[in-house]
């Protein structure tokens, strides 16, 4: 199994804050890697650094054998990276359709793929021509994910998709992500919800203070409650 | 150190230049009593104070105002209109001050409360609009301001050039009303600059800098940023209006071109950036460089332009024409924002180190 994405000794500074302090990990192709950790551990910063929204101040990042730590965000995206930010960042002034038209960089929307997306995000079909700003939180999250998968991407970076959503919607969303995973996607997924992480993850990384403090199989961590307590502590309060 | 509020020039070269400039200004009436030299020296004094007050806004709070000449103009016109309508008396001067300063302050307060809660760009645009409306107003309300012609007036007896206080024989130079006016301006400008130095080094000044660095954090720390910014705006307006009053006293005239025009605003911007933002001292350096260049470099450009014209070169005569000196200054301005954002003072304080 090859590693699609590797980070080696990555440091990131934002302003005068030293946020990532030597991050090393690899994301194997075709699997879902969970990135866990308490708030402020550097999970979102890791994703932002990979996609190039923040420039790594040191270290190497490779995507599919290509070095990207000095590339600009659009160039990284064009290598086949889909990004679902924590804020969802749907373009609220644009319709659902227009959001997806923009996301389909390489040409017109592909009907078959669209049908596949509608099969698990039916709301997007219903509100196809509505302003994205008028969608509910869960629907916006679906649109944000749909944007990342509207064309095949090598790697999906997804930042806390379940954050702030009602439990019923979280369950549905996990189902959808599982479907995307079955479709063969490689995913790096930041998640606070341990239940979701256990459902989806193959591999797991735990961050603290800008470093990776644990790496291994998700199943192993899921089975070891003591390890969970030690690594994740308070962050598991929401754990079902 | 007390008089400098614990904020000395912090550079030997800068200290030397400042001493030379200030000493030069102090002895100008004794050494160069000619009208041109006196005018240049006066203008340097007045603009040093005016630019220093602008630096309080631009350098210390990071807000760009295009309404600074408006306050300068209010001061000028207050003196001019008072002396014009009440006749040349000290009571008229006092009336001008008593009306002009509160007016400037109220206007600054209104603008500040109205638009300082938004970010720098918005504030810059609004001040530009307000200032241009004020300029139009001043040149149209002829019954009050004299319109485009402005208002000329007579000074009180004591300040008139014809008033000889000490004749040439006694001291080797003549102390007349003109020289007295000059020293009045010199001392008032120096006092205002020292006062501004005190302001920026007070706890209040530190808050302003905190706001400039990070407005949100300053707000999070519990500072009412709008209050502080408005307060700074009012202080700057008061100093600008005072500088305008001095200007009117020296010129015995106030008109749109000498006190309100947009080009004066640009001059102020150029001076503060070239001298060094956020230093106060930069105002003295910037004003000196700019006004000396304005008065003496233009002659040089005229000569160069004529030479180019005689040599039959295309374009150059036009580009080097003395009236085009702002072209070169504008280029210098852009270059200094880009390459020397800290201006002359910043350069002298932190000479560029060769990177290894």
């Amino acid at each position: 199994m090859t590693d699609l994405l590797t980070l080696a000794g990555v440091h990131t500074h934002v302003g005068r804050y030293h946020i990532l302090q030597g991050v090393d990990f690899a994301v194997p192709e075709g699997q879902t890697t969970m990135l866990l950790g308490r708030n402020g551990a550097g999970k979102t910063s890791t994703l932002r650094t990979v996609i190039g929204l923040w420039q790594a101040s040191a270290g190497q990042i490779s995507l599919d054998g290509q070095r990207i730590e000095n590339s600009a965000t659009p160039d990284i995206a064009r290598l086949g990276v889909g990004y679902v930010p924590e804020s969802m960042a749907v373009f609220s002034d644009l319709s659902v359709k227009e959001n997806l038209v923009l996301a389909a960089r390489d040409g017109p929307l592909d009907d078959t793929r669209l049908e596949w997306i509608f099969s698990f995000f039916p709301a997007l079909r219903r509100f196809w021509l509505s302003r994205a700003g008028s969608l509910s939180g869960g629907q916006k999250q679906m649109l944000s994910i749909a944007r990342a998968i509207v064309e095949p991407r090598k790697l999906l970076l997804i930042d806390e998709p379940t954050k702030g959503l009602a439990p019923a919607i979280v369950v549905a969303l996990i189902e959808c992500l599982a479907e995307i995973k079955r479709h063969g996607a490689t995913i790096l997924l930041v998640e606070q919800n341990f239940h979701a992480a256990r459902e989806l993850g193959d591999k797991v990384l735990v961050m603290d203070n800008g470093k990776i403090v644990h790496r291994g199989e998700m199943a192993a961590l899921a089975a070891d409650v003591a390890l969970q307590e030690r690594l994740l502590g308070l962050s598991l309060e929401a754990h079902q | 150190m007390m008089i400098l509020s614990g904020d000395p020039p912090r550079s030997r070269a800068l200290t030397l230049i400042l001493v030379v400039v200030i000493a030069g200004l102090a002895i100008t009436p004794l050494v160069f009593p000619g009208a041109k030299a006196m005018n240049v020296a006066t203008k340097i004094c007045i603009f040093a104070a005016l630019v220093a007050s602008y630096d309080l806004l631009l350098g210390y709070t990071g807000t760009v105002s295009f309404a600074h000449t408006m306050f300068y103009g209010i001061g000028s016109y207050a003196i001019a209109i008072a002396l014009y309508s009440m006749g040349p008396s000290w009571a008229a001067v006092a009336t001008g001050v008593v009306i002009g300063l509160p007016l400037a302050m109220l206007l600054a307060l209104a603008i500040g409360l109205f638009s300082l809660r938004v970010e720098a760009i918005f504030f810059a645009m609004i001040t530009l609009a307000v200032a241009s409306a004020f300029l139009v107003l001043a040149s149209q309300l002829s019954w009050l301001t004299g319109g485009e012609d402005g208002r000329s007036f007579q000074l009180p007896e004591l300040l008139r050039p014809g008033t000889v206080l000490i004749s040439r024989g006694t001291l080797g130079f003549e102390l007349n009303g003109r020289v007295l006016t000059y020293y009045l301006i010199f001392i008032a400008s120096a006092a205002m600059i020292l006062a501004l130095l005190r302001v920026v080094n007070s706890p209040f000044g530190r808050v302003l800098q905190a706001i400039r660095e990070n407005r949100f954090r300053a707000e999070a720390l519990g500072f009412r940023t709008v209050f502080h910014l408005t307060y700074a705006n009012c202080i700057a307006a008061l100093v600008a209006a005072s500088a305008g009053m001095l200007n009117a006293l020296w010129l015995r005239y106030a008109g749109p071109d000498t006190s309100l025009s947009f080009s004066i605003m640009l001059d102020i911007l150029l001076m503060v950036v070239i001298g060094g933002m956020g230093t106060i001292y930069g105002a003295i350096i910037g004003a000196t460089i700019f006004i000396l260049a304005q008065n003496y470099l233009q002659a040089l450009m005229g000569a160069a332009s004529n030479a180019a014209a005689e040599a039959g070169l295309p374009l150059l005569p036009g580009l080097l024409h003395p009236d085009r000196w702002l072209l070169w200054l504008g280029l210098l301005f852009i270059a200094s924002v880009y390459f020397f954002p800290t201006g002359v003072v910043g350069r002298l304080r932190n000479p560029p180190r060769k990177s290894a």
Binding site: T73, A77 | I121, L331
Partner: protein, 336 residues
């Protein structure tokens, strides 16, 4: 495409129509004050024509701000440059301008306008690369750099063309008015209205119907996400900046013809007006800019007719009134 358009959408969110009604309400409210119906029509047409010219000049500025958070204080320079460049065509071909044939007149006006747009647009390229790119994201320096650019451009125009006012007569067939009953409507104003509407519709079409337009609208809202979708927003921005500069140049030509003279200070004078329009409309909003331009022109024309003294500060009063009502302008586009 599957037949998705037929699917019922959410109930439309309430569109904010109040600002759109504002010019209409203002115009109707003025009717009884002005008294004479024919004067009212003349003034209203004049407002519309003036508003359209200001809109053309302001549209680029507001888009550039919305997209990249860049405010070009030197925007007025493009206006002046456009006007001067047009004289390069209009003055040598004066005989065409004076010919009493609409076709001949337009045959010289159109190339003059296109040249003005092209040169202003090209200058926009230089300004963006030299003055804005190096200080991108730093507001204070942006204001200073572009103000410096304004000084240099104005002085360069004086150096190249001299400081005197250049008269620029209107083409013969655009002089005079159409008389309908006792209503007189200046021909040139009709042309200005027409051009303004074409520009407005053109911008709206591009923004709503093309992928570039979608990108611009998306970029106004969230630059980072547009980049994360793989689009080079810097290039998009450069394009918008150049088009905006070109439009300012077009507005400059139209304004110069309206006033029948060209002078380097016109850019400066109009900058203030353009800023007021952009503030009133809400920075970044094309629709707001359109309404703002109309309102400013109406206040100037009606005000000038009713209370000439007030006309001097009427724009400021309008701005204050609008900002009291909506502190971020009529249409607040971005969260910035």
């Amino acid at each position: 495409m599957t037949d998705l358009a037929a699917i019922a959408a959410l109930p439309k969110p309430k569109r904010d129509f109040l600002p759109v009604l504002l010019p209409v309400i203002l115009a109707l409210a003025m009717l009884p004050l002005i008294g004479s119906g024919s004067s009212w029509v003349t003034l209203t047409v004049a407002s519309f024509a003036m508003g359209m010219m200001i809109f053309i000049m302001a549209s680029g500025l507001t888009l550039v701000f919305g997209l990249m958070d860049v405010l070009n204080f030197g925007h007025g320079a493009f206006i002046s440059v456009g006007a001067y460049v047009a004289t390069l065509v209009l003055l040598p071909l004066a005989s065409w301008v004076q010919a009493d044939s609409l076709l001949t007149n337009l045959a010289v006006l159109a190339p003059a306008a296109f040249l003005a747009m092209a040169v202003s647009g090209a200058l926009g390229l230089v300004v963006e690369r030299v003055l804005i790119l190096p200080v991108y994201g730093q507001h204070l320096k942006q204001i200073l750099m572009t103000t410096g650019g304004l000084i240099v451009a104005e002085q360069a125009l004086y150096a190249l063309w001299g400081p005197q006012i250049i008269p620029l007569p209107l083409p013969t067939s655009l002089r005079g008015s159409f008389i309908i009953g006792d209503i007189a409507i200046a021909k040139y104003r009709l042309l200005a209205m027409l051009v303004g509407l074409v520009v407005f519709c053109g911008i709206q079409l591009v923004l709503n119907r093309t992928k570039i337009g979608l990108l611009i609208r998306a970029g106004v809202e969230n630059r980072e996400m547009v980049e994360a979708l793989g689009y080079r927003i810097r290039r998009l921005f450069l394009g918008v900046f150049m088009v905006g500069s070109g439009l300012a140049g077009l507005g400059g030509v139209m304004w110069a013809l309206y006033r029948e003279q060209v002078h380097a200070s016109m850019g400066n004078d109009l900058t203030v007006l353009v800023f007021i329009v952009v503030i009133i409309g809400g920075l970044g909003s094309i629709g707001g800019c359109f309404i703002g331009a109309l309102l400013v022109a109406m206040v100037a024309n009606y005000g000038g007719f009713l209370v000439p003294k007030l006309a001097l500060v009427s724009n400021i009063l309008l701005m204050v009134a609008i900002l009291m009502w909506r502190p971020r302008g009529l249409y607040a586009v971005t969260s910035r």
